[in-house]
C-alpha cells in the first residue's frame, strides 16, 4: 500500500475518532474561548488599544490550547496499538503524515472559531483585506503546529511523563510559528509587507515536514 494511501487512512480514522469523542470542539475549544473571555475581562481599562492585546492573546491561546488538540492522539496511544500498527506494516512516515494532516484540519477549524471569538470579545481594529492573509497565517500555523506536536509525541512516546515532555518540546520550537503568524496582521496594520512572515511560516512547515518524515523510521526503530 502506498505511503499516501496509508497516510489518508490514518487521517480518516483519526478524524472519525475525533468526531466521536469530540475532544477538540466540545472540550478544548470552549475552554480556550473561556480563556479569551478571562483575558478580555482582566485587561485593564487603562490599556489604550484593547484590540491589539486581543490578537496577541489569540495567538498565545491558540498555540497553548492547540497543543492539546495536536497531542491528543499520540498521548492516548497504548503499547498494544503501537505494536499492531507496526505489525500491520504501517509506514512510520505515513503515520506521521496522517496524524499531522488530521491535526492540521482540526487546528485550522479550532483557530478559525477562536479568531472569530477574539474579534467578538476584543473588537480589534482589523486592517483592510485582513481575511485571506489571516486565514493563510492560521492555516500555515496550524499545519506547523500539527507536525511539531506529532513529532514531539513520537519523540516522547513511551515515557511516563510524555505529556509534559512533549509540551516542553513544542513550546520553544513553536516560536517561529507564533512570530510568523502574529506578524502577518501586525505588518498589515503597519502597511508593511507580509511576504517575509508567510515565507517564515512556509519554511518552518517545510523544515518540520522533512524532519518528521525523515525521523519517523529512526524513531520507530529506536523505540524497539
Amino acid at each position: 500500500m502506498s505511503l499516501w494511501k496509508q497516510s489518508t487512512e490514518v487521517m480518516r480514522v483519526d478524524l472519525v475518532v475525533e468526531q466521536r469523542i469530540g475532544d477538540t470542539f466540545r472540550i478544548v475549544l470552549p475552554f480556550a474561548v473561556v480563556a479569551l473571555m478571562i483575558f478580555s475581562l482582566a485587561t485593564p481599562a487603562s490599556v489604550s488599544d484593547v484590540g491589539d492585546v486581543g490578537t496577541a492573546v489569540f495567538w498565545g491561546i491558540a498555540i497553548l490550547y492547540g497543543m492539546q488538540v495536536a497531542l491528543r492522539t499520540s498521548m492516548s496511544e497504548t503499547e498494544q496499538r503501537k505494536d499492531i500498527a507496526i505489525l500491520l506494516g504501517l509506514d512510520p512516515a505515513a503515520r506521521f503524515l496522517g496524524r499531522s494532516m488530521a491535526a492540521a484540519l482540526l487546528l485550522t477549524g479550532f483557530m478559525a472559531v477562536l479568531f472569530v471569538a477574539m474579534v467578538i470579545l476584543f473588537s480589534p481594529d482589523l486592517p483592510g483585506g485582513w481575511a485571506w492573509p489571516t486565514g493563510l497565517a492560521i492555516l500555515l500555523a496550524a499545519v506547523g503546529l500539527a507536525m511539531l506536536a506529532t513529532l514531539a509525541g513520537e519523540v516522547a512516546s513511551g515515557l511516563r511523563n510524555r505529556s509534559a515532555l512533549a509540551s516542553l518540546l513544542i513550546a520553544p520550537l513553536a516560536i517561529p510559528l507564533v512570530i510568523g503568524a502574529s506578524q502577518v496582521l501586525e505588518s498589515m496594520a503597519g502597511d508593511d509587507g507580509i511576504l517575509i512572515w508567510i515565507l517564515l511560516l512556509i519554511t518552518t512547515d517545510l523544515a518540520l515536514l522533512v524532519a518528521g518524515v525523515g525521523l519517523s523510521r529512526p524513531l520507530e526503530e529506536a523505540s524497539r
Binding site: V17, T78, R81, I86, L87, L88, E221
Partner: protein, 210 residues
C-alpha cells in the same frame, strides 16, 4: 525461527537471559511460566518489536538485530493479553482499517466476522464490547491476515469454550499452512494445542520441560 542465547534488557534490567528457541515450519511450541517471568517480552522480541542486547536470532529469515523488513512484520500475527483494537471504532471498522493499512482486501472482513460469530455485533463500538468479543475480533483479523508466524500471549485465558475453540482453530490453520505458532501461558493446562516442545520460562531463563 531461531534464537540463540538471546538476551533482552529493559531499563537496565535483564528481562531475558541466554534464551535459545527453535521453531520449524508447521510446528508449535509452548512457553509456560509465572507472572513477570518474561513471557510477553519474549513474544514481543519474536514479533520484532523489541531489540535484543546479546545473542543472535532470525525471524522468518530476517536478522533480529537488523532493520526488519515490512513484509516480515506483516507475516507475524500477535494476540496480546490486552486486545489492541480502537475503542472508538466499531468491530467492523477496526477490521476494515486493519485491511486498508496492511493492503489486504477489506471485503474479507464480513466473512471473517461471520466465521468468529460476530456478524450480529459487527457495528457495535469496541468500547461497548466484552473482552471475549474483542478477542474474537482479533481472531477474525488474523483469519484475514493469514500470518506465517502466530504468537499467542495467554490468548485462551478469560474466554468461553467456544472462543477457545476459535483460538485453537486459528493455531491449527496457521500450522496447516506451514506457519509456526508460539503460545505462552501460565500453565501447561491452558495450551489447547499439540506442541512439539514445552519450555518453562523463569526469571528470564528458558528451560525445556518436554
Amino acid at each position: 525461527m531461531r534464537l540463540d542465547s538471546v538476551g533482552v534488557t529493559l531499563g537496565g534490567v535483564a528481562v531475558l537471559t541466554d534464551v535459545s528457541l527453535q521453531l520449524g515450519s508447521g510446528e508449535a511450541v509452548a512457553i509456560v511460566g509465572p507472572n513477570g517471568s518474561g513471557k510477553t517480552t519474549l513474544l514481543r522480541l519474536i514479533a520484532t518489536l523489541l531489540r535484543h542486547a546479546h545473542g543472535v536470532g532470525t525471524i522468518l529469515g530476517a536478522d533480529l538485530g537488523g532493520v526488519v523488513d515490512r513484509s516480515v512484520r506483516t507475516s507475524i500475527g500477535l494476540i496480546t493479553h490486552a486486545p489492541a483494537l480502537l475503542d472508538e471504532l466499531t468491530i467492523s471498522e477496526n477490521l476494515i482499517h486493519f485491511c486498508r493499512v496492511s493492503g489486504r482486501n477489506e471485503e474479507a472482513a464480513p466473512k471473517a466476522l461471520s466465521a468468529v460469530g460476530l456478524e450480529n455485533v459487527a457495528e457495535r463500538p469496541v468500547a461497548r464490547c466484552s473482552f471475549g468479543m474483542k478477542r474474537r475480533a482479533e481472531i477474525a483479523w488474523l483469519l484475514i491476515a493469514k500470518p506465517r508466524l502466530l504468537l499467542l500471549d495467554e490468548a485462551r485465558s478469560g474466554l468461553d469454550s467456544e472462543a477457545r475453540v476459535l483460538v485453537d482453530s486459528l493455531a491449527r490453520l496457521t500450522r496447516e499452512r506451514g506457519g509456526g505458532v508460539v503460545t505462552v501461558s501460565h500453565g501447561e493446562g491452558d495450551l489447547g494445542l499439540d506442541v512439539v516442545a514445552v519450555h518453562r520460562l523463569e526469571n528470564g531463563r528458558l528451560g525445556k520441560i518436554s
